[in-house]
């Protein structure tokens, strides 16, 4: 996945010299997650540079440069720090295209490393998707596989308006084939088809759902797994189409039920296809900050086991598939 990220950025920078990269420790050091090594060497300090620890300025400079001709890609090192960058993203970048009556687009990309499971504790493990999912004018992509990472980053850089790219820490080591084509932002993908239940997730959750689907298959339950890939816009249609077939929906989120995207997705699907649904629910984290201790963190996160167990329990209660 690391390679996919770097390759996507390098390729877009070669295609378009308006693309510039800046962030904390991304140039000389190649990023703390090693997602940008070699780019400073290839493109020089004018196009790839390290900044002070100044998230307000980072986001603001991205906005200001995007509306005046550049196509900045910034890195907010950990998604948790997005709270510091949020004002410019929400109150400047997301609003500009609309508010200006479409005088100028705002082609900027914010990459950040998100997610728990790395034993980084409560403030280096969050996924800021839910902080931003309600903000009209933003797009949020969340790849689960290297080829989608590459394709979504390419699409993000070419997009006329602001895109947040969430990169899950536990996925950086994932290997896989990498295509060269951009992936349409806002299109979900059915990554496993099945007849009995639809399991929807993003990023690491997709891998867990796929593993759970194997377990479930052994237990005679045929799960369809959907990778949303994008949380804003969100491809409700693909999910609705799936539940019309399976009649059951489970959304798995590495985050709380309350205020999470999973409940919102269930609500949106219920509003569109209530009559087709036999069961819907979410599997989320406890309603606490993310614990540090490995035993606590492991228990906290919904994993493949928890998904399979949840499905089996729910089906037992609701009757056999």
């Amino acid at each position: 996945m690391r390679t996919a990220v770097r390759d996507a950025l390098a390729e877009e920078m070669r295609r378009d010299d308006r693309v510039v990269l800046f962030g904390e420790d991304i140039a000389a050091a190649g990023g703390v997650f090693k997602a940008t090594p070699g780019l400073a060497e290839e493109f020089g300090d004018e196009r790839v540079f390290d900044t002070p620890i100044s998230e307000l300025a980072l986001a603001g400079a991205a906005f200001g440069s995007a509306v005046t001709g550049l196509r900045p890609v910034i890195e907010i090192m950990f998604g948790d720090f997005m709270a510091l960058a949020m004002d410019s993203l929400v109150n400047q970048a997301a609003k500009y295209w609309y508010m200006s009556n479409e005088q100028a687009p705002v082609p900027l990309v914010v990459r950040c490393a998100v997610g728990a499971g790395g034993r980084f504790g409560a403030i280096h493990s969050q996924t800021p998707a839910t902080w931003l999912q309600s903000v009209a004018g933003l797009k949020i992509v969340a790849p689960a596989f290297p080829d989608d990472a590459r394709g979504l980053i390419a699409a993000a850089v070419r997009d006329p308006n602001p895109v947040i790219v969430l990169e899950h820490k536990r996925l950086y080591p994932v290997k896989g084939e990498i295509g060269a084509e951009p992936v349409e932002i806002g299109s979900a993908r059915v990554v496993r088809s099945g007849a009995d239940i639809t399991i929807v997730s993003v990023m690491r959750g997709v891998h867990d759902a796929l593993a759970a689907a194997d377990t479930l298959a052994a237990a005679g339950v045929d799960a369809e797994v959907i990778d949303l890939r994008s949380l804003r816009p969100l491809d409700h249609a693909t999910v609705v189409e799936s539940v019309r077939k399976t009649s059951r929906l489970l959304a798995v989120e590495e985050g709380t039920e309350l205020g999470g995207w999973a409940s919102g997705l269930v609500g949106a699907v219920a509003a569109r296809a209530l009559g087709d649904l036999d069961d819907v629910w979410t599997l989320t984290t406890p309603d606490t900050p993310i614990p540090y201790s490995p035993v606590l963190e492991d228990a906290f996160l919904p994993d493949a086991d928890a998904i399979a167990r949840s499905v089996l329990e729910r089906l037992a209660v609701a009757g056999p598939a």
Partner: protein, 328 residues
């Protein structure tokens, strides 16, 4: 920089006060516009709130007169002055404030968020400090084109994180940005001195290792001269520069301002130093015939009034289907 006014002969004055009549005309344009807006606000044609620029005209007129085509400006919610100084049409600006479809942003933005890229105005920013960030970013783009970005902001903004982070960022990246603080002594209703440690905004900026000047912000010529130096510095590739303009808002913070926080006599002192009066008296002293000065004033005022009158008659936008029309 010194005040070049005084009793020089008309010929000399014409050189010394190069273009002063035009600067005066531009200030009158802003003043006349704000007079109209105040009227329209009271008539209920402008909604929500409005932050008038009356009294501060010399700042944006002086600074913008030092800019070239291709330069960019970011201003605040108190941004009508900057917009007009950059060339936004009074009709389009008034229409925006009234939410009309002919508004410079089609009525979507309103007074606090005016955007007019065709005239080099990146925008007016409703978040204190937002203009500083926008101009800093524009500096990254303009570094490639030889352009200069200007940020206008108030004294209150200098206590904000945006100020600190962006001045530092601009300096370490040597960006062509001119930071212009219009110090009008108050942030909303809170006196600058009570919330600004050290009390010296210029010195703060100098701390970021950039040239920093403080000028009489009610003297358009002094502002222009200082702005030229700052702009030249930035355009040369020497990095950002800073300018503090000491000025005063005649009408207080916004349309809901009681003004009760002002010291007795403060307003009167500043009214006596009205930037329009400073300029017109200087023109007169330099030998400009009175009717030329008043003639310019009248022409500009009637031009503004005509534009505003058109705007008042302009239609509201059709809401249509907002989501469908808005292709993201």
């Amino acid at each position: 920089m010194s005040n070049a006014g005084g009793g020089s002969s008309p010929a000399v004055a014409a050189v010394e006060h190069e273009g002063l009549l035009d600067l005066y005309g531009q200030m009158v344009r802003i003043r006349a516009f704000e007079d109209e807006m105040q009227r329209l606000f009271l008539r209920g044609e402008i909604h929500g709130t409005v932050h008038l620029y009356t009294g501060q005209e010399a700042c944006s007129v002086g600074v913008c007169s030092a800019l070239s085509a291709g330069d960019r400006v970011a201003a605040t919610y108190r941004g009508h002055g900057a917009a007009l100084a950059m060339g936004t049409e009074p009709r389009a600006l008034a229409a925006e404030l009234m939410g009309r479809s002919t508004g410079v942003c089609g009525g979507r933005a309103g007074s606090m968020n005016v955007i007019d890229l065709d005239h080099g105005l990146i925008g007016c920013f409703g978040i204190v400090g937002g203009s500083i960030a926008a101009a800093t970013g524009a500096g990254l783009s303009l570094q490639r084109t030889g352009g200069v970005a200007v940020a206008f902001f108030g004294d209150g903004a200098t206590n904000h994180g945006y100020f600190h982070e962006c001045l530092n960022f601009a300096r370490v990246r040597r960006l062509p940005v001119v930071f212009v603080c219009e110090n009008n002594l108050y942030g909303e209703f809170t006196p600058m001195a009570s919330v600004t440690a050290g009390g010296d905004i210029r010195a703060r900026a100098a701390g970021y290792d950039m040239p920093a000047e403080k000028v009489d912000g009610n003297d358009v010529e002094l502002v222009r001269a200082a702005a030229r130096e700052a702009v030249d510095h930035a355009r040369r590739g020497d990095g950002p520069a800073f300018l503090e303009c000491l000025t005063y808002s005649h009408l207080g913070h916004s349309k809901t301002d009681p003004g009760a926080y002002r010291a007795d006599g403060e307003l009167e002192t500043w009214m006596a130093r009205d930037p329009l009066t400073v300029a017109s008296e200087r023109l007169a002293q330099a030998g400009m015939p009175a009717d030329e000065i008043t003639g310019r004033e009248a022409a500009v005022r009637s031009d503004v009034q005509a534009g505003v009158a058109l705007a008042v008659a302009d239609p509201y936008p059709d809401p249509g289907d907002p989501a469908a029309e808005y292709a993201q």
